[in-house]
Point group: C2
Chain length 108, copies 2
DNA sequence: ATCGCATATCGCAAATAGGCGATAAATGTT
DNA sequence: AACATTTATCGCCTATTTGCGATATGCGAT
């Protein structure tokens, strides 16, 4: 996209939230995270089995979640076990929590 | 992208959350929402003045937020006043709240 | 050294998103 | 009716995302 050299200064929170949100912006990735949440950890293969998408596609979604910091994977050859990244999960919870915090009053 | 005819069945919640998340997946849109939250309502022009992006670009982001149901606009000629859509805001809060709900224990 | 398994990465195609300027649309004002 | 103001939409371009199959990689087992 054509980009100007204007720069917008975003706060850390804004950038971080947008990044988390972006990672959450696809139903498959939501599903994967719910899976990991419900059973703490999971091998890639189990997910690939449950999700009717090509193995390479699932792998890419896992990569996206990993890069966003929402999951972490430890190798357990020949497999990889993915878990929620609890530290960043908490960070995300706080960010979204603050963001959606109930305001005293409602519509003007 | 090449698409198979496989279909994945997503729950309503998964789809809705992904949709909200997608809308939140850009820092400018986070900024806009924070603005609207802080001062209840705002005209497009005020936002355009605060954000160093072309008017048409800001308008598109507003459209995206509107389509995601996060904001609503009422015309007040020749301007348009945008506010948070409280109903869906609450819905989003609930979805994200449930999603990030603290689990009793931590890492295995 | 080779095989087999599970996963990641590559390269491609198609769709979507993000940016802009220019223009259209809506409406109150003169 | 013509104008000014504000916002939305259009067309264009580039970048990113999403999907796939094919291939590479890593590593234990043979």
């Amino acid at each position: 996209m054509r980009r100007t050299d204007k720069h917008i200064d975003y706060s850390e929170d804004e950038l971080e939230m947008a990044q988390f949100a972006k990672a959450l912006g696809h139903p498959v990735r939501i599903k994967i995270l719910m899976l990991l949440e419900s059973q703490s950890c999971c091998f890639t293969g189990e997910m690939t089995a449950m999700i009717p998408l090509a193995q390479s596609t699932v792998s890419q979604h896992l990569k996206a979640l990993h890069e966003a910091g929402l999951i972490q994977g430890e190798i357990s050859p020949p497999r990889v076990k993915y878990c929620i990244n609890r530290k960043n999960w908490a960070k995300a919870r706080n960010l979204f929590g603050k963001f959606f915090a109930e305001k005293s009053a409602v519509s003007p």
